[in-house]
């Protein structure tokens, strides 16, 4: 698997876990309902979607399941959300009046019952055996290379959407810079944004370009008109890109696609850099320091790569890690630059670690062999992540389509959730979290709001489940262990309780850690691999405890209300 594919799968996983955690966040972060059974709704979503979408007879007579209606995915996903939402509400009815700890335990019990039903009832979804044969939408059309009309359309759609999302992200970055008074007019970010918009600002609302500190204090419930303009501009630019892609790829499958793929990939990388830069607000010294530490962590792993004997590498690696961690802790304590921004530094050490893995490490072997051509190809493949080069002509693989699909869904969900949370409805939810009796005394039924919150959160869990069914294509009851709830909780606390956007950050951090350790596990001897995989859960648990203790509000924290009303 090309390294870019690993990256893409990381992002895809992070996306549907974001949705899962968004559901959790609605329940706990906004309403204060601790749902230890969140995985139950994830399960219901996954199986509802799968059973509706799957054809009637897949996998021979030994595979037994109910329905098998062969419906389109849209129906499956919507049904998954509706069913999970309704079940969430029903589960909530008797349990919601209970004390918070009883609620958590009872709902955990309900989730366990769901899991056991799937396991025991063979007629329902093939019982303890895996339910296979779930075909994701349009998968038979991929990979596409622009030689058919459908291929062209799909490529254009994907490229256009990627462009829209990236440009929207860039717009956010500019706003952040402006809010922090760090925007440099005509600086690199502005230039990039101007390029990204492809001149659409001339068509739509030019006057908005210069001054982005909006006024709309009086309208907190509507997304500001400026954001709308930005959105329109981005969409228009994306449209242009899509059309251009279609034309170019239509003219020359090989060259055109290559050109478009390269441009889009480079654009995304640049925006990513701009985003990292805007978040970090680092100077050269900070970059060098984090790079050094990141390199240090990577080097600490070196014995594992090169030495075969466990007895030799284990102490060496552990010793090296101890040294680097010791160094990090020392700097954290004694170096003002670090101690002022520990989280940023920590994050950046991780970013550098990932970057080193993604580029230099991948070409290490060919370089050592003196095979420059191969090294260059690898780098190129990794940069141009949009395309895969396994075939004769450059192609766009199915995983890129998944990325596009999940990305769009996540964006829509996030947008809706922000709307809901910022509305008077969200205000009542927060009030319920704060003090139910006040809500009661003000003539609002807390019960009703809690039920709605449970239904909404569970529906999101169901959506995540449906997407999981789509992504994994196989469902086994063991996939729905209570561990999933734990991960959703971890993501929520990692990102920031009560902060929707933080869920995405949390999910990315979690899956970056997961991916990194999975890659590492590849170097461990086979018989110890399970031990190693268990060990990373130990690390995760410890990390969770540390976060809960030192930063219970999460890395990003809850967006304070005052900040919202100032926007």
């Amino acid at each position: 698997m090309a390294t870019a594919d690993i990256l893409v799968s990381l992002v895809v996983l992070a996306m549907f876990y974001s949705i899962l955690s968004l559901g959790m966040n609605i329940k706990y972060g906004h309403t204060g309902l601790l749902d230890f059974g969140h995985v139950g709704f994830y399960l219901i979503g996954a199986y509802t979607a799968a059973l509706l979408v799957i054809p009637a007879d897949v996998g021979g007579p030994s595979t037994v399941y109910l329905f098998g209606l062969d419906l389109p995915w849209v129906v499956g996903v919507l049904a998954a959300m509706v069913v999970a939402g309704i079940v969430g509400a029903i589960v909530a009815l008797p349990t919601i009046r209970l004390r918070e700890d009883y609620l958590a335990i009872t709902v955990l019990g309900v989730a366990t019952i769901f899991q056991r039903i799937i396991q025991a009832e063979t007629w329902l979804a093939n019982g303890p055996d895996a339910l296979r044969g779930i075909t994701p939408p349009l998968i038979d059309k991929f990979p596409v290379d622009g030689q058919s009309t459908l291929g062209l359309v799909l490529i254009a759609l994907i490229c256009g959407t990627v462009w829209v999302l990236t440009t929207l992200g860039l717009g956010r970055i500019r706003e952040t810079l402006a809010e922090a008074d760090r925007s440099v007019v005509g600086g690199a970010t502005d230039t990039l944004y101007a390029i990204g918009l492809l001149g659409t600002e001339r068509v739509l609302g030019t006057e908005r370009m210069g001054d982005s500190t909006g006024e709309n204090v009086s309208e907190p419930t509507t997304i500001g008109s400026e954001a709308t303009t930005q959105f329109r501009m981005s969409v228009l630019a994306g449209g242009i890109v899509a059309v251009a892609t279609a034309i170019l790829a239509g003219i020359s499958t090989r060259g055109g696609l290559l050109a478009v793929g390269t441009i889009i990939s480079v654009y995304t990388w640049l925006v990513l850099l701009a985003g990292i830069n805007s978040y970090a607000n680092f100077d050269g010294m900070d970059y060098v320091a984090t790079l050094a530490l990141g390199t240090g962590y990577m080097l600490a792993l070196a014995p594992m790569y090169y030495l075969d004997s466990l007895i030799i590498w284990l102490p060496l690696t552990l010793g090296a890690f101890a040294a680097v961690i010791g160094g990090t802790v020392y700097l954290r304590r004694n170096w003002s630059r670090f101690s002022a921004r520990p989280f940023r530094y920590g994050l950046f050490i991780g970013v550098w670690f990932g970057a080193i893995w993604y580029f230099p490490i991948q070409v290490l072997t060919p370089l050592l062999d003196g095979n420059l051509m191969s090294a260059a190809t690898t780098v190129f493949n990794n940069v141009v992540w949009m395309l895969s080069f396994s075939g004769q002509t450059p192609q766009v693989g199915y995983s890129r389509f998944t990325l596009f699909l999940f990305g769009s869904i996540l964006l829509v969900v996030l947008y809706l959730m922000e709307l809901i949370v910022e509305s008077p409805f969200g205000r009542v939810l927060r009030a319920v979290r704060n003090d139910e009796r006040v809500v009661n005394s003000l003539g609002k039924d807390p019960f009703l709001y809690k039920i709605q919150s449970m239904a909404l959160g569970s529906a999101l869990g169901g959506l995540a489940g449906a997407l999981a069914a789509m992504y994994f294509q196989v469902l086994v009851f063991t996939m729905f262990a209570p561990r999933v709830t734990f991960i959703a909780l971890l993501i929520m606390f990692l990102g920031g309780v009560g902060n929707n956007r933080a869920m995405i950050v949390g999910a990315f951090l979690f899956w970056a850690f997961q991916t990194a350790t999975t890659e590492l596990a590849g170097f461990v001897a086979t018989d110890l691999r399970t031990n190693f995989q268990a060990f990373r859960f130990v690390l995760m648990g410890l990390l969770f405890l540390l976060i809960l203790y030192y930063r219970p509000q999460g890395l990003m924290g809850e967006r304070s209300r005052a900040e919202v009303s100032e926007q």
């Binding site: 209970l98 700890d101 958590a104 056991r116």
Partner: protein, 449 residues
Amino acid sequence: MVALGAIGLSMVYSIAEVPNFAHGDLLTLGAYMALLVNKPGNVPLLDTLTTGGQSATMGGTAVLFALGVVATLGAIYMLGGVEALLGSFWPVDVPGGAALAVHVGLGAAVGAIASLGVPSIIAAMLFSGIVVAALGPLQERYVFGKFRAKDISLAMMLVVSLAVAFVLRFTIQTVFGSTTRSYSLQPEVEVFGNSINMVVVKFFDFYVTGGGFLLNVSDPVSEAVLFNGVFSWVSILLMFVAAAAAGYAGYRYRRGTRAILGPYLLGTIAGILAFAVIGFLTNSPGPVPQSPIHSTRVRLSVLNGAIIVLALGMMGLLHTLLRATKVGKAMRATSDNRDLAEIRGIDVDQVTMGVWVIAGLFAGVGGATLGVLFGTLKITMGFFILLPMFAAVILGGITIYGALVGSYIVGLAMEIGIFALPLGATYRTPMAFVVLILVLLLKPEGITG
């Protein structure tokens, strides 16, 4: 044996105010610790110090001995630091040196039993009980205590304990890997010169006939009938009447007193005794009927019986501790109202640590017992017993005695549920929750109150 675990859990829940999700994994830990003694050859790292599957080398013996000593002293240390080691918690005043000597001696004894007792399962249970008793309080000291100092909500505490559970479970998995293990049990045990087979089950057949009730105990291997008796309806009636009378007499005899043998306990014991005695006196042998109205067969091995006796014994000890000692009184007071207890001069922190030690001890023994009962050791075993435990504790209203009653209800519901309804054994755990949810639905105030 939900009860052993549930007691520890409910103690921690009510006294330390931690709804501890990690408790199940503490049981798993106990089960795996017993492996150290029972099958040292099956434990990573330790296997280099063993010869063959079940006997340790000198090095292995030394390690186990050291572990036993350290764990014993550690558990005592957890009760109250160095002062506890010097005997500060003893009911009588003794010179510190003497107490220390006793403690060290105790540690040495545990170490010796653990290291020389290889591979006895009883030694293994003791060992794992002590080790977990020393490790349990560590959770309190380094995790829950710190969080409690921050005054976090119950829900957060729940999340914290879930994280601890995660750490515990996967630490065990990191060390032991994910392969399923099992104890090796000696089927034959010498007791008073007689060899008793511990593992083979005995059949307890119950028949209901027109004339009464027949109990037939037989050994399926040798096909020997061990006991055979018909209880006529009259004698059964007599048994119940006698039991009720004796029970009530016991209750009256102790009513109003606060002795170790309280009114309810004495009443129950007297009732059961009367039931058994009358039953023994009034039965007569009879043939197994061809067409009973109802018949059922219970399989029970000596081992199961021994475990029940062990559990009862431990509960008895705990009961004595709670009723008869100062520590026990302090524990009950803290359980009722933590703040009030603190005002009244009870060292709440020390009591809390003591609770964790006891909970750890019960979890260790309980875990090993579970391993024996299930026959296999799995990483997830603790988690799945945790759910019924929580159900039991909540049913019992988060009190120690309530947990006992609750665990029997839940245990019965689990067993009867899967027999009575046409459901597979997969549904054993869900049954516990069905009971819990029903109770919460019908009478939530009875539990919160």
